[in-house]
């Protein structure tokens, strides 16, 4: 009788089943959604863009691996979050960025911003966005040297050395501050025929990726929608419909709105908080673009809103009321 029964069964609290979506799958899906943007970047800037991307991803994963090993923490590189950070850093840099600077940026993202705060989920600000801002300030020249894209309207007369192009927002800043000083058409910006960071040039590629994430229910549409709508409305006031389209297609708005501002960890949880966050990002972006001394403001906007996120969450949590109100015809 003794062994008729199985008495060494696993006993644990319910539920005993989990959804197929774990952290690794989420991170992997986001990376997949970035493939179109990366593909356009590699097409426009050549193989150097791919080299930079691979180096950033390897560096991020490597730093996290080493950190966990040295600190004797559980290994977390399998969740793909570090790989995604590496990919996002590369997509937020010009393809000509020296590799050693990129590696310093990755160190800043993974070790300083993420691991020192306690690893995945514990960071206050988005690692990739912070790394970009850090590199932008510390290595200003390298971070604003824009290689010419394959299909570019920048003529030799404007750009005699033929090596560096300019971003649309850069041209706007250096010119007289109107759309006339920008050489790219809105269609160029939409398709990605322009200078800029590897991953931000093609609005259409980013839209495809972003909508894919919404369709897969990986991200909520609220932040991208409110972010882009805010930029659009302010752009409308600034320069009519052309101005509005220019501002949502140029620079990092698409990349930022769909892929950086939606980072779960550093954005609000409740829908109302997401609305506040998205509008905040849009407003700050446009203030910097129009009044600030930098041509682009997406990263700063996201960083600032990241810092405000705990307060937004707190504010919304107090206003959320659990339990549904009775439906019509219910409690009399």
């Amino acid at each position: 009788m003794a062994n008729k029964y199985h008495s060494n069964l696993v006993v644990s609290a319910s539920p005993h089943m989990v959804s197929p979506t774990d952290t690794t799958k989420i991170m992997g899906t986001v990376m997949l959604a970035l493939v179109p943007a990366l593909a356009v970047g590699v097409y426009q800037f050549g193989i150097r863009a791919l080299v930079l991307t691979v180096v950033c991803m390897v560096a991020c994963v490597g730093f996290e691996y080493l950190f966990n090993m040295i600190m004797k923490r559980e290994q977390t590189v399998g969740d793909l979050s570090a790989a995604l950070t590496g990919l996002l850093i590369a997509l937020n840099c010009p393809s000509s960025l020296p590799l050693n600077i990129a590696i310093v940026g990755c160190f800043c993202a993974i070790i300083v911003v993420k691991q020192l705060f306690g690893g995945i989920g514990q960071n206050v600000v988005n690692p990739a966005v912070t790394a970009r801002i850090f590199m932008f300030i510390a290595f200003a020249t390298e971070m604003t040297t824009w290689p010419l894209s394959r299909i570019s309207h920048v003529t030799e007369a404007v750009n005699p050395d033929g090596i560096t192009g300019a971003t649309a927002l850069g041209q706007l800043g250096h010119g007289d501050g109107t759309l006339a000083s920008v050489e790219y058409s809105n269609l160029d910006l939409f398709l990605g025929n322009c200078g800029g960071c590897i991953g931000e040039i093609s609005a259409i590629a980013l839209l495809i990726g972003g909508l894919f994430l919404i369709w897969k229910k990986i991200i909520s549409p609220i932040i991208p929608a409110t972010f882009i709508a805010t930029v659009f409305v302010l752009g409308l006031i600034w320069g009519g419909i052309d101005g509005a389209l220019f501002h949502i297609f140029a620079g990092g708005v698409m990349l930022g709105a769909f892929f950086c501002a939606t980072d779960y960890v550093t954005s609000p949880t409740l829908p109302m908080g997401k609305v506040i966050f998205g509008i905040g990002c849009g407003v700050i972006t446009m203030i910097i673009r129009i009044f600030g001394s930098y041509p682009e403001g997406v990263s700063f906007a996201i960083l600032l809103m990241n810092i405000l996120t705990p307060f937004i969450d707190n504010f919304c949590e107090k206003r959320a009321f659990p339990l549904p109100k009775p439906a019509k015809g219910g409690d009399k």
């Binding site: 006993v11 539920p15 409740l270 339990l323």
Partner: protein, 441 residues
């Protein structure tokens, strides 16, 4: 119907046995009948070692108000009265009976005579009936609310939202008449105006079958099938009441406070049968499934059968079982040994081998919360498990109370959906303890 729905999650159905007509288990050599199969005081055994017992014979009872009597499911001889660890970790008295295979029915088994509400309630208690949907609350108490005159609606909970389980589904296909008998009796004796059968949309054959039975009895204006969405947890009492009647019931409230009598479909069907035959609750239709079971099926088993014997009747294990559940994977309980006997409220036994299915069923260590908010959008009551878990870590009873953790019904949707595999429902349960402790100070 334009009505708002509560949040719910899509949980894979895995209804592998929905097409399997119910079989009857051969009588095992021994059965082990627990004296504690209901919420409330356990029964005292009324038989002793060596006594001969028959099917349907009363073998356990108590004078306690919240209780239900226990009957023998077999004929044979009492081998011993022993104590055994139950799934809750406590100790239960068990009557072990060696069967003789004759299944002789006790002389006491005869249809009850019901001429009044009092007779009805007495008959319900005598039947040994408890809430078979999982709660095991004695039915005769539930059907006798203090404000019976304020109750107008009967809701039959026929949502089988737990994955794998199909026993209620089979019941609706095979015994629709008993379900309607039970509903008619309750509506007659408690004087209710309307009856609703809440069934999920993924059981169109059951819906059709019930509608046919309702039409055949000419009850179409009194009794309606309410089609629910096929998401989890439609079968939770408070969700069901909201979905069917739009009423919000808080934790700790009773359906009767909202004018509703709510009962599980198996409970209702048993009642219908009992009023006709007088045969007390001694068998259960259970779904046997899971990756470790050779021939998953629906099977009618005698209460008290050892789970190992039940699995044996389903072709045995085809792989070493690693985890066995009483009930479904969302709210069922993991048992430590398959020596455990079947009890009244069992509707499924699921045995998992963790081979091939490990990713979904062998739950890994939790990883860091990525603050994705999935747990918040999953909760039917709009609770915020991620915030509750943070407040629990800080042992902040006031914050936990403000976050309404006491409203949590432990449905497990939040834990299911969490990509970091955090045991959120379990954390909520412990957080409730923190709040209770603070309140009792």
């Amino acid at each position: 119907m334009g009505q708002k729905h509560l949040n719910s999650v899509h949980v894979d159905h895995f209804k592998n046995t929905a097409a399997c007509a119910t079989e009857v288990m051969p009588i095992p050599e021994t059965v082990c009948i627990s004296m504690s199969q209901h919420i409330g005081a356990p029964c005292k055994p009324l038989v002793k070692k060596g006594d001969a017992v028959k099917v349907g014979q009363l073998i356990g009872d108590t004078d306690a108000f919240v209780s239900a009597p226990i009957h023998s499911s077999v004929s044979g001889t009492v081998k011993e009265i022993k104590t055994m660890r139950n799934i809750m970790g406590g100790n239960d008295q068990m009557v072990v009976i060696e069967t003789d295979g004759k299944q002789e029915v006790s002389e006491d088994v005869k249809p009850p005579v019901v001429d009044s509400f009092e007779d009805f309630i007495k008959a319900v208690r005598a039947s040994g009936l408890v809430g078979l949907g999982g709660a095991s609350f004695p039915t005769h108490i539930k059907l006798n609310p203090r404000n019976a005159d304020e109750c107008h609606d009967l809701i039959v909970n026929a949502a089988e939202c737990e994955p794998f389980i199909t026993s209620d589904h089979r019941l609706m296909l095979e015994n629709a008449d008993s379900i309607l008998d039970g509903m008619e009796a309750i509506m007659k004796w408690i004087d209710l105006d309307h009856g609703y059968l809440g069934v999920e949309s993924n059981k169109p054959d059951a819906i059709e079958n019930l509608n046919k039975e309702i039409a055949a009895r000419g009850l179409s204006d009194k009794i309606k099938v309410h089609v629910l969405r096929s998401t989890y947890p439609q079968g939770a009492e408070r969700v069901m009441i909201y979905e069917v009647l739009g009423k919000t019931m808080k934790a700790g409230e009773l359906p009767a406070q909202h004018g509703v009598i709510l009962s599980n479909v198996t409970t209702i069907a048993f009642l219908g049968q009992y009023l006709k035959t007088g045969r007390p609750l001694t068998t259960k239709r259970v779904t046997i499934d899971g990756s470790a079971v050779a021939n998953p099926k629906n099977i009618i088993v005698p209460i008290g059968a050892h789970i190992a014997d039940v699995i044996e009747a389903c072709g045995g294990y085809k792989a070493e079982p690693r985890k066995i559940l009483m009930g479904g994977p969302m709210m069922g309980r993991a048992i430590y040994s398959d020596e455990q006997p079947i009890v009244k409220n069992n509707n499924a036994i699921l045995a998992f081998a963790f081979e091939g299915d490990a990713k979904r069923f062998d739950i890994k260590e939790e990883t860091g919360c990525i603050k994705c908010g999935r747990c918040v959008s999953a909760c039917p009551f709009k609770l915020m498990p991620v915030s509750i878990a943070a407040a629990y870590d800080a042992k902040d009873a006031a914050k936990l109370d403000a976050l309404q953790v006491m409203q949590c019904m432990q449905c497990g949707s939040c834990s299911y959906i969490c990509p970091a595999r955090r045991p959120l429902a379990f954390i909520n349960q412990m957080a409730k303890g923190v709040v209770k402790e603070a309140q009792s100070k």
